[in-house]
Symmetry: D3
Subunit: 208 residues, 6 copies
Amino acid sequence: MSLTENELLELLKLPTGNICDANDKCGNMDPAIKPVDPKTKMAGPAYTVRCQPGDNITIHKAIYEAPKGSVLVVDAHSYIGAGPFGEIMAIASQKRGLAGLVIDGACRDASEIEELGFPVFSRAINPGGTVKESVGETDLVIQCGGVVVRPGDIVVGDRDGVVVIPREKARTVLEKAKAIADREAQVTEMLLQGKTILEIYQFEKLKG
Amino acid sequence: MSLTENELLELLKLPTGNICDANDKCGNMDPAIKPVDPKTKMAGPAYTVRCQPGDNITIHKAIYEAPKGSVLVVDAHSYIGAGPFGEIMAIASQKRGLAGLVIDGACRDASEIEELGFPVFSRAINPGGTVKESVGETDLVIQCGGVVVRPGDIVVGDRDGVVVIPREKARTVLEKAKAIADREAQVTEMLLQGKTILEIYQFEKLKG
Amino acid sequence: MSLTENELLELLKLPTGNICDANDKCGNMDPAIKPVDPKTKMAGPAYTVRCQPGDNITIHKAIYEAPKGSVLVVDAHSYIGAGPFGEIMAIASQKRGLAGLVIDGACRDASEIEELGFPVFSRAINPGGTVKESVGETDLVIQCGGVVVRPGDIVVGDRDGVVVIPREKARTVLEKAKAIADREAQVTEMLLQGKTILEIYQFEKLKG
Amino acid sequence: MSLTENELLELLKLPTGNICDANDKCGNMDPAIKPVDPKTKMAGPAYTVRCQPGDNITIHKAIYEAPKGSVLVVDAHSYIGAGPFGEIMAIASQKRGLAGLVIDGACRDASEIEELGFPVFSRAINPGGTVKESVGETDLVIQCGGVVVRPGDIVVGDRDGVVVIPREKARTVLEKAKAIADREAQVTEMLLQGKTILEIYQFEKLKG
Amino acid sequence: MSLTENELLELLKLPTGNICDANDKCGNMDPAIKPVDPKTKMAGPAYTVRCQPGDNITIHKAIYEAPKGSVLVVDAHSYIGAGPFGEIMAIASQKRGLAGLVIDGACRDASEIEELGFPVFSRAINPGGTVKESVGETDLVIQCGGVVVRPGDIVVGDRDGVVVIPREKARTVLEKAKAIADREAQVTEMLLQGKTILEIYQFEKLKG
Amino acid sequence: MSLTENELLELLKLPTGNICDANDKCGNMDPAIKPVDPKTKMAGPAYTVRCQPGDNITIHKAIYEAPKGSVLVVDAHSYIGAGPFGEIMAIASQKRGLAGLVIDGACRDASEIEELGFPVFSRAINPGGTVKESVGETDLVIQCGGVVVRPGDIVVGDRDGVVVIPREKARTVLEKAKAIADREAQVTEMLLQGKTILEIYQFEKLKG
């Protein structure tokens, strides 16, 4: 039950905050994983990678395995002492039609990546070089940024961070997120008209 | 002995570096607490909050308790796994006339907050959702970013970070900070005219 | 075997990623050490400093000892609780013709430093004040950001971070980095023409 | 395909290092998660819990849901500002016949837990109190210490840390780990007889 | 309203977990601050110190200012690159009749401190040397380990960590902590007799 | 100017605190690098290693290159997601007559290492498996735990941590450290006789 292209476009218009709330308040990655360019937005099904720290050969492999529209999600063991993803790979990923990349690790060539407009989320930026020795695994269940990611789960990223939606709940989460966004627009309207949050939400806990 | 509105405006024109020096070189928070928008500036008396990690009900409460012009200072136990302050609350805070918010924790809706122009300083940005269950405390002595904050202490924030001035010293610190800024303008002038820092400051320690 | 001014200009045109690769994939600092202004670029021989945490007198001294064109590299023991380098010192450094500063510690006056256009790389930004008591050492072998730095080693910084090239290998590294950049331009060209990385690099490891 | 009691006893006799190697060199948690008592050993199928940070009601619930012999694996969002597991709960867990507990968070009552002999692995020890408000989820796929844990996966812990074996590979991993341990005993024997590791392993990479 | 010697002895018999619960679940320090010797227990009124990082002259001063029975609580700005408290100072502290020391920073001479039996809680152990230049402040409100500490607040430490009780609530907290400990003894008894926590606590939240 | 065996034995009797003071208060590693067994003591000339994170082949090589009596000092890029040194390698190191190992990374088989009595200092303990692919460098200037280490520098470790003495200053530092230890014994004697530190040290800074 993957999302259609139109549904992914709808997701892209919603803030990750609303999406996370709709997703049972789960699936948000460690906030150390941030977009290279804060104006970045991306959404797509995960294609997962687990590689040795400081070794990027598996990412090269995954770029050519992942279906068009995928977000590569790479567990590089939180190692930030080198940058296994850079300009060349960003160009290759764009050529392949990938939707973006999240790495629990570092990237490099931040300026070039920003100029290309390819969405990259990483734990750090590091010009450090990597080796190409140990071929890791792709298309498996991994953790990335403290979140479980399965192939095909929907990955959404914006300035606030990255949220992972279980594939089987993706459509439901999209609908709930739209409803939350609508409700928030109403709440905003009411606030601007002079109502208070306390009146609007009627918090039980704050009453006598 | 709170500051007048004019005095707060004077504080806003001074860099936090000068203010911190005038404040016995103290009161600067952990530098992990940063403005959402680096162009942000804010100054005002603290209204303090201590809440359970991952629970934002107490912040909702505080928005409506804090006097106009206050800076909300929230001890969220340094928890950054969720973002208990976002767009809706920023709008409500603006409506209430609050001067800004500092949270030892995370916020979300960074782009929206930046667009609103409401000053927010946080340890991280995280789209993660929060619960609204445990009502914490407000208007008490707390720590935030490794600094003791008492209700009414003056909180100043700019791109460099956040500095807390004990309320009873606020006027003295303002005067000292202005004097330091004046002195630094003179030093800058002398540097541009070709003098060296060593000549200007005559460091005892650097002499034979 | 220091680099000529022309060679330093050539280095400035290369991304630190290529330089690091040419430098035996070494010399890249901890990615927590970042430019105050992401548009910053700098290159020059290191003039090294080791100072007590929270004490900036040795940096003042070094500004006037370092040869024109130097990059000050300061081991402040990774202490980020105060900002021992700010606007006044940036102006003094510019007046002295220094090429930039890297500090394993914090700086302050970020906005002013950005406006001056003086390249500063630091672990954090903190308005906290420092003392001027303990005179440390200059012109010695230090570590900074997890990298060994000797006086005269070539220090290059850009948005991706800081790389240190051993002085005796500087010319070789420059030549190799240029060759790598040329090769990467060719690879980019081939990618744009439709070739894949796998075809271009013919990874042995990815073959059956 | 769960392991029998005898197989679990066999696992307990093997160091987690050998088990991890047999487990495709995967499944080892963040080393910040350590045993309260370094003499601790435990092995059993996971019963998983995800709870709000600083709230332990879900752990109470899980103690009574988990099958006898289970290891409770708790994702408390890495929050270490309070200790949601302590003496009372350790006694209850022992009474229920649980095999141990791993928490991506903190515990308290370390001395009492050590005296009881109940195996507890945690990211920290903190006497801080928790609330009992938000009921989280149990018996679901979680992350703990940067590792994906599914209900029924086999969790093994000793002084070196915690390793998680996918349930469907558990028997194979046990067999491989025993083979590795046997091989290591032979290698040890050869080393003591004067052979070198280089001779024994004949590293291809170290040859010309 | 300081505690009597007998009351301090009563506190020493209670686990810090119970004390923290009685203290409105507050006052527990960052768990990185740990006893040098896990068998350590201490309780006494705080005598507070704020010193420059890497400089221990203020601690020397405080040892001779603090009243007999005090716990020295030192804000060393979380700096752990040197150890400003060691064997000589532990002997001096014992001679002066101090009850212990907590430092938001490092200590050294861990083996000697353990042998002396003087209670020391620190963020790290580091043999690094300190200077004796900048005299800081004593007997003021500080933060230590993320907790506000005022002179005379009661500081309790055991293996689980350090808890700070506001001086004016100390007697009440002691009484509540004893009641909690009594209640926990009853709960333990009930658990051993076969009751479950769910029966004993009758959690509202866990009911339909 | 290496130290004789007798001189190394003298170093072993001195606390690292005294040695660090004698070493210009420098050379102490990041306190996260701790002995596996707190009773450990070691001293010897450094044999240095730089290896890829998560890859231990270079350590195997170094064990057989290092001269008898050496301390292996390994820069594993602070990566603690796997344990590249364990029991087999400890046995091999003992067989080769090495004095100990320091790794800016993790080790495993902590219990076995403790039983063997081979001194190991590491940033973490992790059962995670490593690969044997990328041969790194040995016998070069490295950083380890934030300290520059050159081949032949003297490395001393005890419960407090690790200190590195530049080889050319080793004899002088030993003499100074012995003098400091003698002086401290006198100070201890004076303290026990009732003198105060303030009388003994006559701190200028604490006067008037």
